[in-house]
């Protein structure tokens, strides 16, 4: 019992942060599945969602601010794709990647300008921010909500991809871009949908993440973004269940390592894991089945 009580806070934190990573990692993996592009700006879209919330909640009631944050983040993701990636559709893949890095820094520096470089305190969301006690471990309610919400969203997304026309189009595009186009699929609108879904999930992830760690800085998206990218690679980039499982594994391992007292190595572990996975299984955990892209 005492063992459980001692380790429960770490496991809870791990599951919660894993769920938040999962929501971001899906964005990486979906975009890669369709465009073969690693969207480096995705972590910063996540940060931007946090900033939107900080600024909107200052003047609007939360009931209006939260939907507006989701909407603005989706719009941001959509615009980034249209402005920075779409004109480069026929350019070499490297150019698009560089463009993504450019967008990433642009967002960070815009945030730097609007905040003056200072950390902004994220608003408290009622109910989610309340503290609860489970088996003697005290934590915020958001810690419990995160994994449930993540699973619901992932199942919903899987159903969407499997059973709707747009989902079918996404699978087709991810399998063969050119043929899909020849078959009359509107590739551009499929790609836009992908970015919209990815940004929406990143916005939900940012609501959960920043409720738990209530401070947003222009570089807040950096570390979570990198780790989610690692999670996506770990699970097999292009595979949604892979990204989710990878994210949970990384979140939980990271917190257990901190709990064991090796706090200094928690980040080193994440990146060592990336290297090991690439050496042992370059396609990641679920990356082998070519049919399961998207």
């Amino acid at each position: 019992m005492s063992f459980l009580q001692n380790s429960l806070p770490y496991i809870l934190a791990g599951i919660s942060v894993g769920g938040q990573y999962a929501l971001i990692a899906i964005g990486y993996t979906m975009v890669y599945g369709i465009l073969r592009l690693i969207n480096f700006a995705h972590g910063d879209v996540f940060m931007a969602a946090g900033m939107f919330m900080v600024f909107l909640s200052a003047s609007l009631p939360l009931g209006v601010a939260v939907p507006l944050v989701l909407l603005l983040t989706v719009l941001l993701g959509f615009l980034i794709e249209r402005a920075a990636y779409k004109p480069l559709r026929s350019a070499p893949r490297m150019s698009v990647m560089i463009s993504a890095i450019g967008v990433s820094y642009l967002l960070q520096n815009c945030a730097l300008y609007f905040t003056g470089g200072l950390a902004k305190v994220y608003p408290q969301l009622p109910w989610l921010s309340d503290t609860v006690t489970i088996l003697g471990a005290v934590t915020k309610r958001v810690t419990l909500i995160t994994p449930i919400l993540t699973l619901v969203l992932v199942i919903g997304l899987s159903l969407f991809i499997r059973y709707t026309k747009v989902g079918m189009a996404m699978r087709a595009v991810s399998k063969d871009f050119e043929t899909a186009r020849l078959m009359g699929i509107k590739v551009n609108s499929v790609i836009s949908t992908t970015f919209i879904i990815g940004s929406l999930l990143a916005a939900v992830g940012s609501l959960l993440y920043f409720t738990n760690y209530a401070s947003v800085t222009p570089t807040s998206g950096g570390m979570p973004g990198l780790k989610c990218f690692v999670a996506a690679v770990f699970g097999g980039i292009g595979s949604i269940p892979g990204a989710v499982i990878g994210a949970f594994i990384i979140g939980i391992c990271e917190n257990i390592i901190k709990g064991l007292g090796w706090t200094t190595f928690s980040d080193a572990f994440t990146f060592a894991l990336l290297i090991v996975i690439l050496l042992v299984k370059p396609t990641g955990l679920f990356g082998e089945k070519a049919t399961d892209k998207v």
């Binding site: 806070p9 934190a13 200072l118 503290t131 209530a214």
Partner: protein, 390 residues
């Protein structure tokens, strides 16, 4: 055609930028004081408050009489971005601006990183609140007007052991950060010297998940959580300590003496105690006039974190400016080399107490630290008894 268009656009951008940089130089009789402070990054909030002190002092006394001639004081601000990598280039920018003397920086790491640049250029630098001993050790061009970490660490350890009556302390610092790492080391030395026990952990750069660290402190049954880290991390730590319902008090050094901390702790069930350079209320005249100045300008108010609490670093910044003027007057010249020679013997009576430097490293001779506790009901500091050692 497309290529030509791209080229034209690029040229337009370059010229637009060049036009920004080309604003004219002012007239002959000026003396330039460089302010080497972070305005962004981890220590952006603290750096801005320290800069405010210098700006206020400059508005109080915009001219100085050196050697019978009146000079306009030009203050040149650069942002070292709280980053040890960016510090040398920010320092070089001040050197190029022809500064006679440099003030700053908030955060010991950037001061250590920027120090060699000032030394090579022969420009004296005066640290305002960088407390790590290495800032001035081995660099004859770096001086400082605040107390040092061995002293501050001892004061904090004594406070924890004697006043709080705890025997086990949890210490957390940022990996590779000279300020928090140094202070934690001196705290542990002193605390273990008193017969206490310490659990020491470090968190990596960019970390915002402090759940596990707080859980570790709880699991180890520590009586106090000592974490003299940047105010950005501090907000998250306070939040997490409250979220986990931990009962131990939080203890920190001068960085936490900031209204950012007060705002984070306000209305929460947490005890925060800090050591600092200046308690608000010690000099009523100074407090009231700087408050009026801060409230009179929305930018100043925003840089001070949205309210008019007088941070200790602001008072130190104010003193540093007058200390620099006094040194130049004593030197009778604006030449960096002469100013440096004069600094060793410069003495002033500042709002934070008398300031004089020792002859070995050019550190301030100070033996008093003020102790403050956050009043979480009202969001203000309560001054406790100051501690004097030696």
């Amino acid at each position: 055609m497309k290529k030509v268009l791209a080229l034209v656009l690029a040229c337009v951008m370059v010229f637009a930028l060049a036009a920004c940089g080309g604003s004219g130089k002012s007239s002959a009789d000026t003396v330039t004081i460089g302010v080497f402070e972070p305005a962004s990054g981890d220590n952006g909030a603290g750096g801005k408050q320290e800069t405010l002190g210098v700006q206020y002092a400059n508005s109080v006394q915009p001219t100085v009489e050196i050697g019978g001639k009146t000079y306009n004081v030009v203050v040149k601000y650069v942002d070292n971005e709280s980053s040890n990598d960016k510090a040398p280039s920010a320092a070089a920018e001040l050197v190029n601006a022809g500064c006679s003397i440099v003030l700053g920086s908030y955060g010991s790491g950037v001061s250590i990183a920027g120090g060699p640049t000032f030394e090579a250029a022969g420009i004296p630098a005066v640290g305002i609140t960088c407390t790590n001993p290495q800032v001035t050790e081995g660099n004859t061009y770096y001086f400082r007007i605040c107390f040092l970490d061995p002293f501050q660490g001892t004061v904090l350890a004594n406070y924890a052991f004697n006043e709080l009556g705890v025997t086990k302390a949890y210490c957390l610092n940022k990996l590779g950060d000279d300020y928090s790492g140094g202070l934690v080391k001196y705290f542990i030395d002193a605390f273990e010297g008193l017969g206490g026990e310490c659990v020491h952990e470090e968190f990596p750069d960019g970390n915002s998940d402090f759940t596990s660290y707080v859980a570790n402190a709880k699991a180890a049954d520590c009586g106090v959580f000592f974490s003299p880290v940047s105010t950005e991390a501090a907000q998250l730590i306070i939040d997490q300590v409250v979220a986990q319902g931990a009962s131990f008090p939080l203890l920190a050094g001068d960085t936490w003496d900031s209204n950012v901390i007060l705002q984070a702790a306000k209305g929460k069930d947490v005890q925060v105690t800090v050591t600092t350079f200046y308690p608000e209320g010690a000099d009523a005249n100074f407090d009231s006039s700087i408050k009026a100045w801060i409230n009179g300008d929305s930018t100043n108010l925003a840089n001070n974190g949205g309210d008019d609490t007088v941070a200790a670093v602001t008072a130190m910044g104010y003193d540093a400016y007058f200390f620099a003027l006094a040194a130049m007057q004593k030197a009778g010249s604006t030449e960096p080399a002469k100013v440096m020679a004069a600094l060793w013997d410069t003495e002033i009576n500042g709002v934070t107490g008398p300031i004089a430097l020792d002859k070995t490293n050019g550190d301030a001779i100070r033996n008093t630290a003020f102790v403050k506790q956050a009043d979480t009901a009202t969001g203000t500091w309560i001054a406790l008894d100051p501690v004097t050692v030696g």
